[in-house]
């Protein structure tokens, strides 16, 4: 805290002279305006973040702590559970970039100009308004071995397709990605719809006059116009998928065993179930690096391309 105060006063001392027509100096007020946000974020978010990095270099069981350098990180690389967790996280990222984004785009384009569009869109958006935990309760009911999906298959005479959805890898991860698709498609659909409605009617008309129709019109006129909004949709989807936690925690707790764990769950189990604070911290740091590198790389490429 004192370091923060010193920085604040050092900052105000070097403040530019006030602009013309302005006799007040901002010293006290600046502190008043900036301090609450910086203090809350600094103490409750930035400090814990730095401490997590620091802790990842120790073997730490909550009672005693000994320096091990990079050992936690090197152990992770040879830990099968961690490798599986990275693989699952990769599946989540690929799956939620592919399904909700693509379906959202198709539904937005398909329903944009038809009369019954709003009704169809309402069906898609409704799940998005539910919270993640409620979605998980619902899909737990659907996917349990004695749940609704199997009962439905059996009622339709498709007993051969029945299976213990949540108990086998990789099926458990795949069905959870589908459950997330059910919830998240509405969000990307809304955003694409906004993008579509911003396309000038003349642009579409010009394409029609040039003889483009159907798929060609979509590919060479509509899609390029949707580029800015796609950057937003894909960016949000990318970051969210890397941080997947709630639905997996509620549907499988990462199990059976640790087979459906994502990085976020591995961190949670190592830290709070096994009390391996140093090891858990190393997982958290790796997750952070992946999130930051992925969003930075993606945004930089997209912004340059624009």
């Amino acid at each position: 805290m004192t370091a923060l105060n010193e920085r604040d006063s050092a900052l105000t001392r070097r403040t530019k002279p006030a602009r013309p027509g302005q006799s007040r100096r901002p010293h006290g007020s600046l502190l008043l305006f900036l301090f609450p946000a910086v203090a809350l974020v600094g103490v409750l978010l930035i400090l814990p973040f730095l401490f997590t990095i620091y802790r990842s270099f120790f073997r730490d069981n909550g009672f005693s702590r000994s320096w091990v350098g990079l050992e936690n990180y090197t152990t992770l690389l040879t830990d099968d559970i961690f490798v599986r967790s990275v693989l699952n996280t990769g599946m989540w990222t690929a799956g939620t970039l592919l399904l909700p984004v693509l379906l959202g785009l198709l539904i937005a384009v398909g329903t944009n100009s038809v009369r019954w569009g709003p009704i169809a869109r309402f069906a898609i958006v409704l799940p998005y308004a539910l919270s993640g935990a409620v979605t998980a309760l619902l899909w737990n009911f659907m996917l349990q071995t004695d749940g609704a999906t199997n009962a439905l298959l059996s009622a339709l005479g498709l007993s051969a397709l029945e299976r213990p959805w949540l108990l086998e890898w990789p099926m458990n991860t795949i069905v959870m990605i589908i459950a997330t698709t059910w919830q998240a498609t509405g969000a990307s659909m809304i955003l694409f719809l906004v993008g579509l409605q911003a396309i000038p009617a003349e642009t579409i008309e010009a394409g029609r006059v040039d003889g483009a129709g159907g798929f060609r019109l979509f590919r060479s006129i509509v899609l390029p116009q949707l580029r800015p909004i796609s950057v937003v949709v894909v960016g949000i989807s990318l970051v969210n998928s890397l941080k997947t936690f709630d639905i997996v925690w509620l549907l499988t707790r990462g199990g059976p065993g640790t087979s459906s764990e994502t990085l976020a769950l591995t961190m949670y189990r190592q830290t709070f179930t096994l009390s391996r604070y140093g090891y858990g911290a190393a997982v958290a740091v790796i997750l952070t690096v992946i999130v930051l590198v992925a969003s930075w790389t993606y945004l930089r490429r997209q912004l340059r391309a624009n």
Partner: protein, 268 residues
């Protein structure tokens, strides 16, 4: 022909999307005693009895009240604090505004997992663990960076002349903030409030990490317990509780759809 295929596909998809919701409503309404495997049609009416069971056994009512308190409180604090900081960074002659922007905004880029264990230890050492005050504090802190981002973006578009007119009046910074900039940024304040209200309402991670007793625990943590520890109550009870837990988010989301969309579009 192609158009007809498209229509059939889209309508099929919309219907497919409605199946889980429909099944949940049907099964949440089935009397728990009658439940023997998933139902396809309404056959008995026990929704309110199911709800009563959930409220009594897992204290869902108390958890809803807690979540209402955290969501409203944390969102209000975060929006106010973020508005103050946005004003400082955008309007006041701060040295290096970009540095202050990143100092606050960084919080929203990091995954929540990276804060968890130090927060848990810190809370345990300062008796904030498992208190409403502690929950409110972390929810407010985690909400500030994004609220700041939305409000700051909005303030950078505030008309310069209006601001200068207020300055010539000899108004103090505080008066300028309260009389000119807060009212001007009304839309951004509301959007940020709604976003953070929903984010807090939906939070599971901090709820299961930093609280444990029914008096403090937020709704999503209580639902997780209902789904795990009390799974024996059966699907009708759990689904009824889940449906009621979604009412605030569904209502807020559907009534303010435009707002969310417009606020999201400010993101780069």
């Amino acid at each position: 022909m192609a158009r007809r295929v498209r229509d059939v596909l889209l309508i099929g998809m919309a219907l497919l999307w409605l199946i889980p919701t429909y099944l949940v409503i049907v099964n949440a309404s089935t009397a728990a005693a009658d439940y023997a495997g998933p139902r396809w049609w309404f056959s008995s009416w026990g929704f309110f009895d199911n709800l009563a069971t959930a409220f009594e056994t897992a204290d869902i009512g108390r958890a809803m009240w807690n979540s209402l308190l955290y969501s409203t409180g944390a969102a209000l604090i975060a929006v106010f604090v973020a508005a103050l900081a946005s004003f400082a960074v955008v309007i006041m002659p701060v040295k290096r505004p970009a540095m202050w922007f990143w100092a606050i905004y960084t919080g929203t880029l990091l995954p929540l997992q990276v804060f968890l264990s130090p927060l848990f230890n810190g809370y345990a050492n300062t008796t904030l663990y498992d208190t409403q005050y502690g929950m409110l504090l972390i929810y407010a802190a985690i909400a500030i960076p994004f609220a700041f981002f939305v409000i700051r973006n909005y303030m950078t578009t505030a008309p310069r002349e209006m601001m200068e007119a207020a300055q010539l009046d000899g108004a103090s910074w505080i008066a300028m903030f309260v009389r000119v900039h807060l009212p001007l940024a009304r839309g951004a304040l509301l959007a940020a409030f709604l976003f953070q209200f929903l984010a807090t309402w939906n939070d599971l991670l901090f709820g299961i990490t930093l609280s444990t007793s029914p008096n403090v625990r937020p709704l999503m943590a209580a639902l997780a317990e209902l789904n795990g520890q009390y799974a024996g109550l059966g699907p009708p009870v759990i689904l009824a509780a889940g449906l009621v837990a979604s009412v605030p988010t569904v209502v807020l989301f559907l009534s303010f759809q435009r707002f969310f969309v417009n606020a999201l579009r400010l993101t780069p």
